[in-house]
């Protein structure tokens, strides 16, 4: 669906995107995961043709130029900023954007209705957007991206500043779109979102893709070892422990945490409490991008 090769973008002396390459398969959900300023939105803007690339190529279904109307008609983009009109109602926003994509008559009505249901805004459709909550606006922003029923949808950090209920609804609807066969590119810096939703995740930082794989693949490569923390009933005498004991608490890392815990138990070591922290996408992210603040 999308093939990006050696894509580069510079803003003055700053290289925002530095020769990245990736492929998004049709019907998959591709995640761009990176800290603030990593180059995610710049990449999205180049894919949709809002920004010209300084180098590299983008092909969408084989077409090289995303600014062509025929290509744009196949793309839906929900930008990070709320790109909706607060003076208009939710219904009017959807109808307006639908008309820009050539929808008219019953088809337009049908799509507007679908999008209102998608965003959970049927009951507030005639209210002005200015009266909506942050979550409702965010959902409408997403709905405006799919009003023309595009096969390729790009969601740029769609859950920023929304409440848990809205976030849950957004996840549900994105998963539904994927089940219906849409190709989705999803940028976020929330690990749990990428871990839950994405088939493939590219970790991006300083304009470069640090790694790209499925979530289990990334964890296996970069997640590190599981961390076991156990509060011991008593300190064993004369036995070698796999980690250090501080104030009666044993802590050690392991590639096979369950096997190691079973072995300790077999050696007669009893635990008051036991906690196993398996590596996750956050571990991958921090291992790849470091722990330095990115303000």
């Amino acid at each position: 669906m999308i093939t990006v090769s050696s894509l580069t973008k510079k803003f003055g002396a700053i290289t925002a995107v530095d020769g990245i390459s990736f492929t998004v398969a049709p019907g998959s959900l591709f995640g761009l995961l990176g800290p603030n300023g990593a180059g995610k939105s710049t990449t999205i803007n180049m894919i949709v043709g809002a920004l010209p690339a300084d180098g590299g190529t983008i092909a969408i279904d084989g077409a090289q130029d995303p600014t062509q109307p025929s290509v744009r008609a196949r793309i839906g983009n929900a930008p990070q900023a709320l790109a909706i009109y607060e003076d208009l109602t939710g219904e009017e926003n959807l109808a307006f954007f639908g008309r820009l994509y050539g929808l008219r008559g019953p088809r337009l009505k049908e799509r507007v209705r679908f999008c209102l249901e998608f965003a959970g805004l049927v009951e507030r459709q005639t209210d002005r957007v200015g009266t909506y909550s942050g979550g409702m606006k965010r959902r409408l922003n997403m709905a405006c991206a799919i009003v023309h029923d595009p096969p390729l949808i790009l969601f740029d950090e769609p859950t920023v500043g929304v409440d848990p209920q809205s976030r849950y609804l957004i996840f549900e609807q994105i998963e539904k779109l994927r089940r219906e066969g849409r190709t989705i590119v999803y940028t976020t810096h929330y690990m749990e979102e990428a871990q839950r939703l994405c088939d493939t995740v590219a970790i991006i930082d300083h304009g470069k893709i640090l790694d790209l794989d499925s979530v289990p693949g990334l964890i296996a490569r970069h997640g590190g070892k599981a961390v076991i923390t156990a509060e011991l009933e008593r300190l064993p005498e004369g036995k070698q422990l796999p980690g250090v004991v501080v104030e009666g608490q044993l802590r050690f890392e392991s590639d096979r945490p369950l096997e190691d815990v079973a072995r300790l138990h077999a050696d007669g070591i009893a635990f008051h409490t036991l906690k196993v922290d398996n590596p996750d996408l956050e571990s991958v992210f921090l291992n790849l991008t470091g722990r330095r603040l990115r303000d």
């Binding site: 109307p69 744009r72 709320l82 954007f97 820009l100 405006c144």
Partner: protein, 425 residues
């Protein structure tokens, strides 16, 4: 075109819902026209009438009828008030005169129902002409009963019969006097009866020797070089304020689209940049033209603004609207934030308005400012509108201001689009 219209309708709907923005586009220009028009207007019909006060110390029917007759005069504005107040108003020049009626000591009325008492007129001695004018109007009212009698003989005869019946019981008259009065009234009654018979079969009472004076007025207006009223100056000016309001509203709307991300969403739709901007321009054009037409219709209907040529007026409004669409596009790219565009926009428009006759009418400008005004599109816009309203332009004379207006519009739009395109790189 359909895309541009879709965007234009969206923008117009947004403007309609923005009450504050709408105020600057519609209400403010109208207020300007009304405010300055009323300041400069000294020729209202009410102002041309004599304002007098009526003081009646008594309540006789004759006096009441006289007051009513006076009130019918199209040359007077009569207000009832006490003598002290009336004297104060005359002293301060707020009314021309007061007329005080003092009832007669005798109960008898003057002939033909006219009041028998005395009239006292209070007026500044220097106002000789107005005093004479007022005297004529008072006399006309006083003798209106007599005039009515000779226009309607039967009512005259009714009054004679009533007087004859009252003569018998009249006190303070000698028998000789009563005889003379009876004799005279009977002769008069006979004469009226005869005249009534003579007039039978003809409805034309103008031939009556006692009828109204045959007096016709013909409107012979003084030939004027300038506008006929202040409204013909202030309404073209108000149209400029309406167009300036449109420029402010729509340039701000465009920069808001850019800062809030909706412009990006528009750009990602399968439509061209020029379609988007054409939609923006079309919205500004429709709003500007509509408000200008509405303001002019209001001026024509309410303030009797006389338009010399309606086709030229329409052409001038269309050309002015095109000009301001271009200015709107140019202003919208003067800054990247709403504050910078709003500030720069109003500053530029105010300077253009000040030098172009939007504040001080072109005809009152000193010559050097008149020369400077040639660089302001507002000057040409007002010039074109005034040309259609009272300057008496033909199509040939209208060509120059219209060409300048359309030229400014095209250049402004082109420059704005170019700057916007470069800023997107």
């Amino acid at each position: 075109m359909r895309v541009a219209l879709t965007i234009a309708l969206k923008d117009l709907r947004q403007l309609w819902r923005d009450r504050f923005g709408l105020f600057w586009v519609v209400a403010f220009p109208l207020l300007m026209a009304l405010f300055f028009g009323s300041i400069f207007s000294g020729e209202s019909s009410a102002a041309r009438k004599l304002r007098i006060a009526w003081i009646n110390a008594a309540v006789s029917q004759a006096a009441v009828d006289f007051r009513e007759e006076l009130g019918k005069s199209s040359a007077l504005v009569v207000t009832d008030m006490p003598l002290d107040s009336a004297r104060q108003l005359v002293t301060t020049g707020k009314i021309t005169a007061f007329v005080q009626y003092l009832e007669s000591d005798t109960a008898a009325s003057a002939p033909y129902g006219a009041p028998q008492g005395r009239f006292k007129v209070g007026i500044d001695p220097s106002r000789k002409a107005e005093a004479g004018y007022l005297e004529g109007i008072l006399s006309q009212a006083y003798f209106s009963g007599l005039q009515k009698m000779f226009s309607d003989y039967q009512s005259g005869r009714d009054w004679i019969q009533q007087s004859l019946r009252g003569l018998d019981s009249a006190e303070g008259m000698t028998a000789e006097q009563k005889f003379q009065y009876r004799h005279s009234l009977t002769l008069f009654d006979t004469a009226l009866a005869a005249m009534g018979q003579l007039d039978t079969g003809t409805s034309d009472k103008q031939g009556s020797p006692f009828g109204q004076m045959n007096l016709d007025f013909e409107d012979v207006a003084v030939t004027r070089q300038g506008p006929r009223s202040s409204w013909e100056i202030t309404f073209p000016q108000s149209l400029q304020w309406a167009l300036i309001g449109c420029v402010a509203a729509f340039s701000l709307g465009l920069v808001m689209e850019r800062t809030r991300g909706t412009y990006l969403r528009l750009r990602l739709a399968p439509i061209s940049r020029i379609q988007i901007l054409a939609g923006k321009g079309l919205a500004c054009f429709i709003a500007g033209t509509s408000v200008c037409l509405a303001l002019m219709l209001f001026g024509i209907a309410v303030f009797k603004v006389q338009v010399a040529s309606y086709p030229l007026l329409l052409a001038a409004i269309l050309a002015a609207a095109i000009c301001f669409v271009g200015i709107m596009m140019l202003v919208s790219v003067l800054g990247k934030t709403e504050n910078s565009v709003a500030g720069a926009g109003w500053a530029i428009m105010l300077v253009m308005s000040m030098t172009g006759g939007g504040m001080v009418p072109l005809m009152f400008m000193p010559s050097w400012l008149g020369t400077l005004s040639n660089f302001s599109p507002i000057k040409w816009s007002i010039f074109a509108l005034e040309g259609a309203i009272w300057r008496g332009f033909g199509w040939g004379e209208m060509l120059t201001p219209m060409a300048i207006l359309i030229g400014v519009g095209v250049v402004g739009f082109s420059v704005g689009v170019t700057v916007l395109r470069r800023s997107e790189m």
